[in-house]
Each structure stands twice: as C-alpha cells, then as structure tokens.
C-alpha cells in the first residue's frame, strides 16, 4: 500500500468527565477510502472532528505527514469536510458556496471560475452555478457539499454521514458516485457511517468502533467473515452467537456436540463465542441434521425467508430460500467453514439471541444513529 498520511496516537476525549474516546490508535494511508463504522455514540464523529480540527483531544496526538497538528486550527489544515447535513451557506448560491474556500484563499477570479466549473463537472452539476441552495434536491445539495470541499484540493476529505439524509435509492447511487469521485481525485476519504452495508461496499478499510474504542480494523471481507467479537459479529450483518468451548485446535463444542472448525490458537477448553451466520445454514431432513429444532416464525423477505428455529430453547435466525412452514421440525448441518470462533469479550452474551425476534430488527439498527457527540 501507499504511504501513511495521518496517524492518531492514544487519542482520548472527555466531555464533562464522560469519556467519549478511549485510547484510539489508528493510521490512514494516502489514497485510501477508510470508513469509521459504529452505532451512534461510539465516538466516530468525535474522531472525525478531531481530525478536522474542530475538537482538541483531551490527550493523545494527531500526526499529519509525521507532524503533530493538535494545535493547528481547522482553517490551516489541508483537510476538508463534508458535513452531516451539508452545512451549505443559505445566503450564497451554488457558485458562491463552492467558491467560498477559494475566495477566502484570495485566488484570482479567473482561476476560481475555472476550478468551480471543473469540479461541477466532476459532481455532475454543470449549469447549476446560480441556483439557490434551497431550490436543490437533497442529492444535489450533497453534490454541492462534496464539490465545495473538493475544490480546495485537500489531501484528505472527511465525510460525516453524508448520505444519512437521502432516501434509499439515492443513497445507493451516491455510494457509487462517491467511490468514483474518490478514485478520480485520488485522495484519502475518511468516511463516517453507522450503515454497515455502506461501509462494506465502499471502503478499502473499515474501522468498527464502539464505546470510544476500536473493536476491529480490516478489509470489508475480513470484518464480515472474521469478526473479532460478539459486537462486531452482530453489528456487521446478522449473527447467531452461541456459548461454546474450544476443546483443542479445530474442535469446538457447543450444544453438547463437538464440531469441526477452521479456527486455532486458543487454550485448551477455553470458553468462546461461536458465530454462525444465518445465511450459511442449510436445512436438511431432521434425521440427517446435527441439530433438530422447531420452526417458530417465518417472514418473507423478498430474496429469502427469515426463519426462526427453536433449538432446545435457543432461537436461531436462518436465512434461506427454502420455505418451511411454521411448526415444522427441521434439521441443520454445520460445515467447518460455517463456524467462526471468537474469544470471549465484554460483549459476550449481549448479542446473537433471536428469542425476542421481531420482523423489524434491521430497521432498529438503521434508525438509531441520528445524532452523535
């Protein structure tokens, strides 16, 4: 990969005695698309604001190109931000907004005009120069906000939940658009979101945060396939998380049965969390299954069915295209690659049980992340 651009060292942030960030260590590479992902209140926006210079950390350092920039005010940093609700200046038109930073820097008028029209082309808003801000749609405002930041040719662009206010379809389009712009401009994007799907589909690197701490850093696939703890497993996608015991390498015991798995490096008989993704489970006739249970609820989801199955009082979510009627007895098989074993953490036992399952479960996680700070 390319060279390191920003490094956060032992960042700690406290507001009124409340610890928001707790020892964050992180580095960002040049040209990288990095996403800070986490539920609201996890500290991701705070981290972003510290990088932007709007907050000074209680302790720890921010290094930019190897130099500490803790005391550099935001207006002297080569970093620009796309704000949560765009923060476009309502008293200026599109041109005025985009040219704002260039005007402040006192660039020649001709150059400003040229750079603005270039960037308008990049974001696809040619001819919108003199539109009023409040006459634009959400998506257009979004593009103006991005253009306003990019036109200053920053080394790093910070994006604070830029798509949160858009509807689903537009959000999907903009995700592609952002990725395209990032690649076209070739600069670092640091992106904050609470939407795991967004994070997985756009990023080079995902940083999962909770309670002011980094839970896991990795490529999207790794985060999904190899979650480090119950929190990550649950936050990224759906997971059935079970108590188990690692008997020895590649052997894990849960539900009173020993299963083969692909994980190693645990102490003998170490208690662990076992993750089984709902989509990895296949139904088999009851007599062939490793486990048998009863279907308690079936919800049609379009692509698949969400089926809740009761295994000895523990309820699993199973996503399958294979319809089973409610009340049916089913069996399942678990292949070694379907089982992922994690060390016990503070999150153990908090997630992964679908006993109180309701059909709206995914909306719950989606709406919860409006305001942070």
């Amino acid at each position: 990969m390319s060279k390191e651009l920003i490094r956060l060292q032992d960042l700690t942030m406290e507001f009124d005695g409340e610890r928001i960030l707790d020892g964050i260590n992180l580095y960002f590479n040049d040209h990288e698309f990095l996403t800070l992902l986490g539920p609201s209140g996890c500290g991701k926006t705070t981290t972003l604001r510290i990088i932007g210079g709007f907050l000074t950390p209680t302790s720890g350092r921010v290094l930019f190109d190897g130099k500490c920039i803790n005391d550099v005010p935001p207006y002297q940093r080569q970093i620009n931000t796309v704000f949560q609700r765009y923060a476009l200046f309502p008293h200026l038109d599109v041109f005025g907004n985009i040219a704002f930073g260039l005007n402040v820097a006192k660039l020649p008028k001709a150059e400003i005009a040229q750079r603005v029209s270039e960037i308008l082309e990049v974001v696809g808003l040619q001819g919108f120069e003199h539109r009023r801000i409040d006459s634009l749609s959400g998506g257009q405002q979004q593009r103006v906000a991005i253009a306003r930041a990019l036109v200053n040719r920053p080394k790093v662009l910070l994006l604070d939940e830029p798509l949160a206010a858009l509807d689903l379809r537009l959000r999907k389009d903009m995700q592609n658009e952002l990725k395209r712009i990032q690649q076209a401009m070739g600069i670092t994007f640091i992106y904050v979101t609470h939407d795991q799907e967004e994070a997985l589909s756009m990023s080079d690197t995902v940083v999962v945060m909770d309670k002011g701490r980094i839970q896991q850093i990795g490529k999207p696939e790794d985060i999904y396939n190899e979650p480090k703890n119950a929190f990550v497993a649950d936050f990224i996608g759906e997971s059935n998380i079970l108590d188990g015991v690692m008997l020895e390498d590649y052997k894990v015991k849960f539900f009173g049965r020993t299963f083969k798995c692909l994980d190693a490096g645990f102490a003998p008989n170490e208690p662990v969390d076992v993750v089984i993704r709902p989509e990895d489970i296949d139904f088999v006739p009851p007599e062939e299954g490793h486990l048998t249970g009863t279907v308690t609820s079936v919800t049609f989801k379009g692509l698949n069915y969400d089926i809740i199955v009761d295994f000895k009082g523990f309820k699993w979510l199973i996503q399958t295209t294979d319809h089973q009627p409610e009340g049916a007895t089913v069996g399942i098989r678990l292949n070694p690659e379907d089982i992922h074993v994690m060390r016990k953490s503070e999150y153990s036992g908090m997630f992964g049980d679908y006993s109180s399952y309701s059909a709206e479960y995914d909306e719950l996680t989606e709406d919860a992340a409006d305001e942070e700070e």
């Binding site: 932007g52 210079g53 709007f54 005010p73 935001p74 207006y75 970093i79 620009n80 931000t81 704000f83 949560q84 609700r85 923060a87 476009l88 200046f89 309502p90 008293h91 038109d93 041109f95 704002f100 930073g101 402040v104 820097a105 003199h130 539109r131 009023r132 409040d134 006459s135 306003r148 930041a149 200053n152």
Partner: protein, 674 residues
Amino acid sequence: MKRTNRIFTILIFIFLYIPMAVLILGSFNTGKNLALFEGFTFNQYKELFRDKDLLGLLGNSLLIAILSTATATAFGTFAAVGIHSLKPKMRKAVMTLTNIPMTNPDIVTGISLSLLFVFIGSGMLGQKQSLNFWTLLIAHITFNLPYVILNVMPKLQQMDPALQDAAMDLGCTPLRSFFKVTIHEIMPGVISGAIMAFTMSLDDFVISYFVTGTEFVTLPVKIYSFTKKPIHPKIYAMFTLLFLLIFVLMVAMNLLQLRGDKRRTQKQAKPPSRGMRTFQRVAAIACVAVLLIGSFALIATTRQDKITLNVMNWGQNIADGSDDTLDIIAAFEEAYPNIDVNYAEYASNEELYSKLSTGGLVVDVIIPSDYMIARMISEDMLLPLNFDNIPNYQNVIDTYKDQAYDPENKYSVPYTWGTVGIIYNAKYVDEADVTGWDLLWNEKYKGQILMFDNSRDAFGIAQYMLGYDVNTTDKAELQACAQALAKQRPLVQQYVMDQVYAKMEEENAWIAPYYAGDAMMMMENNENLRFYLPENETFNLFIDAMCIPSCAQEKEAAEKFINFMCDPEISGANMDYICYGSPIEGATEHMEEYLAESEVIYPPEEILERGQSYGFLPEDITRYVENLFLGIRVGKTAEEEEVQSSGSALPVVLTLAGLAAAGVFLCLPKRKRK
C-alpha cells in the same frame, strides 16, 4: 362566529386608531383645542418648520435613538454570539441578567439609573452636572441591549452550528467566519432587534425623564413638561409627520420581506450583477456615513464654543415672542452674542427644590418664590450675588428690597410679585357664593373644583381660611389644616398645577385657586373667567426673585442675565406676557395700559395690606407638611396617619422580607427531571 370576530377586530382597530385620528385632525385645526375643530389649515406645519427649538428637540431624540441603537446593536450582537457559546448554566444566568431591564418597570429602571449617576457623579466624583447627554445615552443603550440580544439569540440557536465549522474548514479564521457566514444567518434578528431598539429609544419617556439633565432634553420629556396650555398644534403636526414616516417605513419593510419570500420560492436566483452589487455596497456605506455624519453634526451643533447659560423658570413665566410680545431670551442673546441660553421649566417651588437637591444638574439662574429662597439660603443652596455686575438693581422699587426671606438682600433680585386668589367661571358659579376661601369647600360645586398640587400653597389656603399664621410651626394647627383639606378632597376634581390653564379655559373645571398673573392670562383666553381675592381673609402675597444656585457654572453670565431683566423696558415687556406685577421702577410705562391698570395685577393698597408672605419653615416642619399633604393626596386621614407614623417599622420590614423570599422562591428555576 367568524363574522362577529371580524366585526370585533375592526372595532378594536378603531379603538386603537381613534386617538391617533384625533391628533392628526388636531394638526389641521386652526384652534388649539383638540376637542374643538375650528377650521382647516396647514399653518401648523409651517409653524412646525419655523420652530427651531422643537426641531432641535426632535433632533436630540433622533440623535439619542440612532447612537444608542447603533451601539446597542453592535455591542449586543457580539455579546449574543459570546453568550451563545457559553455553558448552559452560565448562559441562563446571563439571560436572567438580560431580562432584568425587560421585566423591571421603566420607572424603577429610570430611578435606579438616575440614582446611580447622581451617586457616582455628584457623590463620588464631585461633578456638578452628573446627569447629561452621556448618562442619557448610557441609559438608552442599557435598555436597548436586551432587545437586540433577545432578537439575535433565537437566530443563533436556529443556526446550524456546522455552518461555522464549514467556514473554518474552508479556511476562515473564527472572526472571518463570523463576518462571512454567521452575520448573514443572524441578520434578520439583528435588524428586528435594531428596529425595536430604535422605536423604543425614540419614544422613551419614563427612563429619559429620570436620567435627563437640563442641557440635553429629548422630545417626549419636553412634551411632558408642556402642561400649562393645551399643547401647541404644531406638535400634532409633528406627530402626523412621524406617523406617516413610520407607516411608510413599516410598509417598506414588509414589502421587502414579501419580495424576499417570493424570491426564495423562485428556483433560479438571479445573480446580482456586479454593478448592482457595487451599488448596494455603496448605498449601504453611504447610509451609514450619512447617519454618522448627521449624528456628529447634531452633536456639534449642540456643542458650540458659546457659553451656555442654564436658566430655570416657572412654566410660561417669560415672554417668548408669541402674541406680539417681545422674545426676551432672543433679545438677551442678541445683546450678548456669546451667550446661549438653555431654558428649562418647573411647575412648583418644590419641584425646583427637588431637582436641585437631588443633584446632577447645572442651573445658573433660578427664580424661586420667597419662602423657597429662605429655605435655600438656609441650606446653602444659593450663591451671593456680585451687585457690581447688576447695575440695574437700582431700578428695583425699595418696597421689594430687603425682604424677610433675604434680609440683607445678598442672594436675590426680585423678578415679579403677585397674589394668590381664586379664579372662577362666572357662567357656572353663582356670584353670591363668591366671598372667601370657603368657595373651595362649597358642596354645590363638587367635582368642578381644582386645588393646588403643592403642599405649601394648599396648606397656605387652609391656614388663611382658618385664620392661622401662614408660617406656623404648630403641629396642632397644621393637623387642623390637614383635616380641612381632607374634608375638601371629595369635592376636588383634580390636584393640579399648570394644568389649571387647560382645565379652566376649556371650562372643564369651574373654580381654582391660582396666582394672579396666570389668572390674568387665562382670563384673556376665556371671557367668562373672573379672579378675586377673598374679601375679609388674608391671602398670599408672593415675590419671585432671581437667584444663582450653588450648582451654577456661569455666574458672571448669570448676573448679566439678572441685570438684563431689571431693565424697565425689558421688565415691562415681560409683564405684558406673564401678567404679574413688576418690581422695577418705571416698568409700568412700558406695559400695555390695560395691564398696568388692572386690579388683578395691581390690587388697591387696602387689599394688599391683607397679604401675607410665606416665610422660612424649618426642615422637619416642611417634611411634616409634605407628608400630611401626601396623606391627603393618597386619601389617608390625618389621624390615621399619626398612628401609623409612630408605629414600629418591624411589621413592614417583616412583610417586605416575606415578600422578597416569596419572590426569590418563585423566580428560582423549576426543577426538571429528564
């Protein structure tokens, strides 16, 4: 339902606008009485624009309003930004402080500020004139600030805080981001705050009334002092013009807002052309420049190199050039071009005394009456005169020299003399009833009797009627007088001083005790009015004399003024207007004949012999009388009061403390649970 509501609303609007219509109509009236439309004319407007003093007062009001609004707006806007970024607890405390002038009654704000200024200025810095232009400006800024803050704060709260971050993100320093972004967002609040502050300041009477000195007076304060006659209709003309101006301004503001709204709904904003933008900028700068230059010009005109002589006289007690009389002040200023006379008025000796003793004023010449001169001498409030500067003193008739109030004649030079009698309307009052002071106690005329609104004259009448010495210090006698006055109270329509003019001339009251000269003036305006001195009883014979108070700054100029007034020609011309007796030898020769021969002004010797002058009263008696009189005014009988004043303060103090505790408890913020 809807229709009744509409009719009701229309009625309320009529109610709100009728008085204004009356005033506007008054501005086109040939007569002076608001209630009597005599004929249509534009003359009042002509007179208005000829009256430099009045326009000057309006200029003063505008100057104070502009300066205080500009200062408060700038100061308040920055303060609001600061308050906005304070911690919530601190912010709440500061907002409570901000609300104090908003919730406090104006009169308390005015009094507290005037006491502060006098306390610091006169008490601590030894300043003579502690109430002046600057104190007035400070007071106006103080009560304007909350309007600005309360209008700007909500705009700051509505503003997306990310906007400021965005500006800084794009390279603005905090200060720059304020001017490039924040100011645009809060502008509507700033403007409405400024407009509110401006109108409040322009129209403020109560606070200005208490903090204003003599040198700088605003229009409302002056209007308040016009009590003697119905207000001159040129003031209604001014009101009409101001009404039109404010109306046009408001309409313009609303139109601008409407246009702004419309533009917002249009999709494509027209890019303002460069020429247009330059024009806007130039226009804005020009407006500010004009305002500032205008303000400084106004200050400059009020501050010339000339000596300013502050003269304080009774209301309408000097010829002012109206009704073909000589304008004495103008004549004096002509004779002494380097002296500029600043003329102020008071309605009673007591008012003059209060003004001087409260402090904070510069006054160079005053014209109190006899007993007040004695009191002021005893309290060291007067300066001895240098008679070398007053050669015309020789013109003073010997009878009026060396009077009891100033035995060695060191402090005073007589200005006028006169009597106190009863003025009545012959159309309503039966001649048979007109005998003595008891006319004022006659049940027949209940509700049509006016009475002096000052303790000395009111008690004097009771003393003359009951046959006591007018300078008695016997508390029992004073008690008896108080009882008599309390008995009279139900018959009295109103306690008045100079308002007697309008009341009597317009026949809204029938009987009033008043000074002979003023009676003469009223009689000129209403032929039904008569004046008499009680047949067998004593009455007040008074001398008003010119003195220089110890707060004077221009003693020499003051002496020149006094000397000028002792010129027979001037004194005579003056008496033509004020209709009193002149103490100057030969003045009668310069007076109009009918006045010189009038028995009202110059009663025959045998009647004059019954006259008694007020003399000096010790301070405790003065205060005793004052309190008795106040008791009568608020409707307490004398006996009750005696009991009260000997009572202990404890119950009152306890009640007050209880009330204070209740207030504090109630003002504490409600405890809220989240």
